[in-house]
């Protein structure tokens, strides 16, 4: 069941396109904003609202990187693993995070607090290495700074 807010947010976009089916990503992002990820059940509800099959919707969902079809932690860390960040210390940053959180890339901490994911170039290469946590961009990251950054996310 989509909540009234979710439904409203999605329907607000209907007028922007000649066809509801153009809203596959937008609709899934709305649900993901509220729930963190898109479950099979949510997928069905969205498909119904957009009048597409659930298979078609999942075909789109599984193509894109930012749609999570598995549960994620309360906070999603996305560490840029592209070239400039790699030059500037991505591996050190990654290893530190993995050690600090006790998880491998793609995993969620047992307490459900963080999910650790790689992400492609974040477009802030002059401030590498960089990462995003939820909607926040963190850049020019020193490994010393990581812990205080993580502190902000309960």
């Amino acid at each position: 069941m989509l909540s009234p807010e979710e439904r409203q947010e999605i329907e607000a976009e209907f007028a922007h396109y000649p066809d509801k089916r153009a809203l596959t990503i937008d609709a899934m992002k709305v649900v993901q904003k509220h729930r963190g990820w898109v479950s099979d059940e949510a997928l069905k509800d969205i498909a119904e609202l957009l009048e597409v099959s659930v298979d078609e919707l999942d075909s789109v969902a599984t193509f894109y990187n930012l749609i999570f079809r598995k549960p994620v932690g309360r906070h999603v860390i996305m560490v840029c693993d592209s070239i400039s960040c790699w030059i500037m210390g991505y591996e050190r940053l990654r290893d530190h995070l993995m050690k600090r959180l006790g998880v491998k890339m793609g995993e969620t901490t047992p307490d459900g607090r963080f999910t650790l994911l790689p992400i492609v170039c974040l477009g802030t290469c002059d401030h590498a290495p960089a990462m995003m946590i939820d909607n926040d961009l963190h850049r020019d990251i020193d490994t010393d700074k990581i812990d205080s950054i993580l502190e902000q996310y309960k």
Partner: protein
């Protein structure tokens, strides 16, 4: 025509195609994967690369994909260019990196396009040393097997399933080199055309699951050109046997009928041939029970029954061949031959035959249906009664939009570009049926109504087209407006089509369709009128003639007849059980010839084992009016033989003079052809048994057929002589003419280097065009030069809802409604359980929900059935699934009482 230069010569080719099609049509072995003649080009796989040169001075050239390059005057390409050859091998290398190389255990092996293209490109050395990506397979239903590791990401499956068929539950998931083709979750694929994925998929990802249960390599099959027996469309098929069991049905290309595709009922319905219920010997009733007896005895006893007996009648069947029906007619005499269709069906099929014969509208082939640019469907749920026509109708709505993309200079074969430019635009398609259909999603408008109202709409359309056509009184403004809209659309079209049929048992609907077609023809339009037929030979039988069923019953009841032959027919499906039971009581000798021990056969005095389509030769006439010959695939075990052969034997034993000269199929075909002028053309449906090519017969078995000695070694170590086939130019052997026979005699498609179904390319005079020498079958009905027709009069009264009764109308199911395919376990699994359909309003009126039980009083019997609430069903109308609910031959539509249980 355009001149193109390929390697070292100029060639003249059709300019409306891609270079790939042109090269394939010229006979070049240019490899490809993602292109398909019915799906067009998308340029994904990159397999068909050739080198293109600007002019004769350009020595460098550049690689282009032949499937994406238009044919233009002066195009210069090289297929043999070393860069192109190397690149094509490189593409195979890419595809094979992740491939499991499991040919020995893969069902596709021996008929695999990937195998063929791998050999063709010469790639043979593996450089990739890393891990392969693997997938978990899905359960997709009882018809198709899923083995994703073999996938080469050609995208044919989803393009076919989504774009051609309109399905949405088969999709591509994920991306890069891990694309997964399947459903969001395991489950039966929803489309009734999913089975074609077996042939669409160039590897073994999608394969026929029913074949898996008794798997045989293509090269080990004995095959013959056959015709699907599960509906009136009569698609051409290729049937294959091994060790005496029918193994599979695959599509046999027929450019005018089925093209490259079958429906699932036709592909998977064949297992009835292997059913436990098969009658394999002659039976007679001894001590009240049916017991086997030697065939000679059975024939003898029949001779005795027939001696001096002038009270013999014969009941034929619309699912039996023309020849079998004719033989029975000859045995009993034309005035004692009854066609074995229910009264209503018989009346309607004869009416439809008459309308087509009278003209002026043309009965279109399936290809012509595809090319129609405005369609009106009156009453028929085409997806369920003539599925292959539904698939053709789905393509027809692209005709008008493609005129727009033609103007944009987008070639029709550039598939995605055409579809993107067209978006959701569709040509006119109007569907008037009581219940929702699976073509509704592409319909311009649908009209849900009772049969009489559907007829009235049709009559109103005819009147809107031509004021001389009868007026329909008391038409609502909505329906008038719809009729006007439909008339406009048909009038503005270049190739308008009306589709109707006998499914609703409504003469008025058939009349209305005729009126519309006639009104269109008056305008000088190339109007087409397609009538669906309920069974494979309904139209053929109607053209042959024969009385109706109640006359047959009457004859027995009144003592005029006491000996009844029933040919391949279960009378309990044709008439109320009470009437059939009465016949059973009254008749003295009941002789049944059939494949299966049906309820009728189980009550007979004699049962003769009838060969199915796979074990017989004969002719069917499809709904188009096309006579098609089907050929025996194998010699059946035990005493099974063609019905017509049984009848000839019986006639000979009884001293029938006319049968004296009948020994082989050709004798009977000629005699049948002489029975009625309209049937004269059936002799041309295939060459006679005397036909040879350079003195050789056509082999049913591929050159690489194995084990022909070993398979009999446990019986006799010496290899037996292959059985003779006096009925056809085909041989039960791999020996014979190795080249291409006439199209009606092609048992399977194969060409050197092309082991898969893609070898069809080599048999066509033009890719996606006719087979060389013309497509199989002979049209028997052409509109006459001069046609003196009259309009039929319109029904005066509209449908009226009754307070305590419902009009029960027939609903049809592609899986379950047809008698023979319903015996195939996979089909039976997909058939619905019994139900009665009610509209939302009526369900509310009766205070029932989905699944609640109601009582239906039918012919004095009460049946308890669960409700299925169906959106759109008109108020006052209820629906009953044919073949699924024991109907007692109720003769729908019928007013019934319904009450909550």
């Amino acid at each position: 025509m355009a001149k193109i230069w390929v390697d070292d010569k100029w060639y003249e080719v059709n300019p409306d195609q891609s270079l790939l099609q042109a090269c394939l049509g010229l006979g070049f072995d240019l490899p490809y994967f993602c292109w398909h003649p019915a799906l067009g080009s998308v340029g994904a796989c990159r397999q068909c690369a050739v080198k293109q040169f600007k002019d004769e001075n350009d020595t460098q050239g550049r690689l282009v994909m032949a499937c994406m390059t238009p044919v233009a005057e002066g195009t210069r390409i090289s297929i043999k260019d070393p860069d192109a050859v190397a690149f094509r091998a490189g593409v195979i290398e890419g595809l094979m990196m992740n491939h499991p190389h499991d040919c020995p255990v893969c069902d596709e092996g021996g008929q695999c396009h990937l195998q063929d293209m791998t050999v063709m490109t010469g790639h043979n050395y593996r450089r990739y040393r890393f891990k392969k990506r693997t997938f978990r397979n899905q359960y997709l239903g009882p018809l198709l097997n899923h083995e994703m590791n073999r996938c080469i990401q050609c995208y044919r499956c989803v393009r076919y399933y989504q774009d051609y068929v309109g399905g949405d539950d088969l999709q591509a998931f994920v991306l890069r080199n891990t694309v997964f083709f399947g459903r969001q979750e395991d489950g039966v694929l929803k489309s009734e055309f999913a089975g074609n994925l077996d042939e669409i998929c160039p590897t073994g990802v999608f394969t026929d699951k029913t074949v898996k249960a008794h798997y045989t390599r293509k090269w080990d099959l004995q095959m013959a050109p056959s015709v699907c027996v599960h509906c009136g469309v009569g698609c051409s098929t290729s049937a294959g046997e091994r060790y005496g069991t029918l193994r599979r049905i695959v599509n046999r290309y027929n450019g005018e009928v089925n093209g490259y595709f079958l429906c699932d009922r036709g592909r998977f319905g064949y297992e009835f041939v292997n059913s436990e219920q098969r009658v394999r010997q002659a039976f007679s009733r001894q001590d009240g029970r049916l017991k086997p007896l030697p065939k000679e005895k059975a024939v003898e006893q029949l001779r005795d029954i027939l001696k001096g007996n002038d009270r013999v009648i014969g009941i034929g069947s619309p699912r039996a061949s023309l020849e079998s029906n004719f033989a029975l007619r000859s045995l009993v005499g034309p005035d004692r031959f009854f066609n074995g269709m229910s009264d209503e069906t018989s009346r309607l099929v004869s009416l439809m035959a008459e309308i087509l014969l009278q003209g002026p509208a043309r009965s279109p082939s399936l290809r012509e249906i595809e090319q129609s640019d405005a369609v009106l469907v009156l009453g028929e749920d085409v997806n369920n009664v003539a599925p292959r026509i539904a698939l053709a109708l789905r393509q027809s709505v692209r005709q008008q939009p493609m005129e727009m993309t033609d103007k944009m200079k987008i070639p029709r074969w550039l598939d995605f570009a055409v579809r993107e430019a067209i978006q959701d635009q569709r040509g006119p398609l109007f569907i008037a049926t009581p219940a929702a259909t699976r073509l509704d999603d592409i319909a311009t408008a649908t009209y849900r109504a009772a049969p009489d109202d559907i007829a009235r709409l049709g009559f109103a359309v005819a009147h809107a087209l031509d004021y001389e056509a009868p007026v329909v009184p008391d038409l609502s403004s909505e329906v008038s407006a719809l009729a006007e809209q439909i008339a406009q659309a048909l009038k503005n079209a270049k190739r308008p089509l009306v589709v109707a049929g006998p499914s609703l048992n409504s003469e008025a609907v058939v009349h209305a369709a005729a009126n519309v077609a006639r009104a269109l023809s008056k305008d000088g339009k190339a109007a087409r009128l397609s009538f669906t037929m309920p069974e494979v030979n309904s139209l053929g039988l109607a053209l042959l003639g024969g009385g109706n069923l109640s006359a047959a019953f009457k004859a027995v009841e009144e003592g005029e007849a006491d000996t009844v032959f029933v040919l391949e027919n279960d009378l309990y499906r044709r008439a109320p059980a009470s009437a059939v039971d009465k016949l059973m009581q009254a008749v003295r000798h009941l002789i049944v010839l059939d494949h299966l021990m049906t309820p009728t056969a189980s009550k007979a005095e004699y049962v003769f084992p009838s060969g199915t389509f796979a074990e017989s030769d004969g002719t069917f006439v499809n709904n188009e009016g096309r006579a098609q010959r089907f050929f025996q695939v194998y010699v059946p075990k035990e005493d099974i033989q063609e019905s017509w052969r049984w009848l000839i034997e019986i006639m000979k034993a009884a001293g029938h003079p006319v049968a004296a000269s009948w020994n082989v199929l050709d004798d009977l075909v000629s005699a049948t052809a002489a029975a009625a002028p309209v049937l004269a053309g059936i002799t041309e449906a295939a060459p006679s048994a005397k036909f040879r090519i350079v003195g050789r017969k056509i082999p049913r078995e591929p050159l690489r057929y194995t084990g022909r000695t070993a398979m009999h070694a446990h019986i006799n170590v010496s290899e037996p002589k292959p059985p003779d086939d006096p009925d056809s130019p085909l041989a039960f052997s791999m020996e014979g003419y190795p080249g291409q026979p006439p199209s009606s005699l092609i048992p399977f498609f194969w060409s050197p280097g092309w082991n898969s179904i893609q070898s069809v390319n080599k048999f066509q005079s033009e890719i996606n065009g006719p087979l060389r020498g013309g497509d199989p079958g002979v049209r028997l009905i052409e509109p006459p030069q001069v046609s003196n027709w009259l309009y039929f009069s319109a029904p005066q009264k509209a449908f009226e809802v009754r307070p305590d009764e419902w009009l029960l109308v027939p609903l049809y199911h592609v899986f379950g409604s047809e008698e023979l395919s319903a015996q195939a376990p996979a089909i039976a699994q997909l058939a619905p359980g019994p139900y009665v359909a009610l509209s939302v309003t009526d369900a509310a009126r009766l205070q029932v929900n989905d699944g609640a039980q109601v009582e239906v009083k039918l012919n004095g019997n009460v049946q308890r059935l669960p409700v299925m609430v169906q959106q759109g069903l008109p108020t006052g109308v209820a629906g009953l699934p044919m073949g699924v609910v024991p109907l007692e031959g109720a003769g729908l539509p019928l007013w019934v009482r319904l009450s909550r249980s």
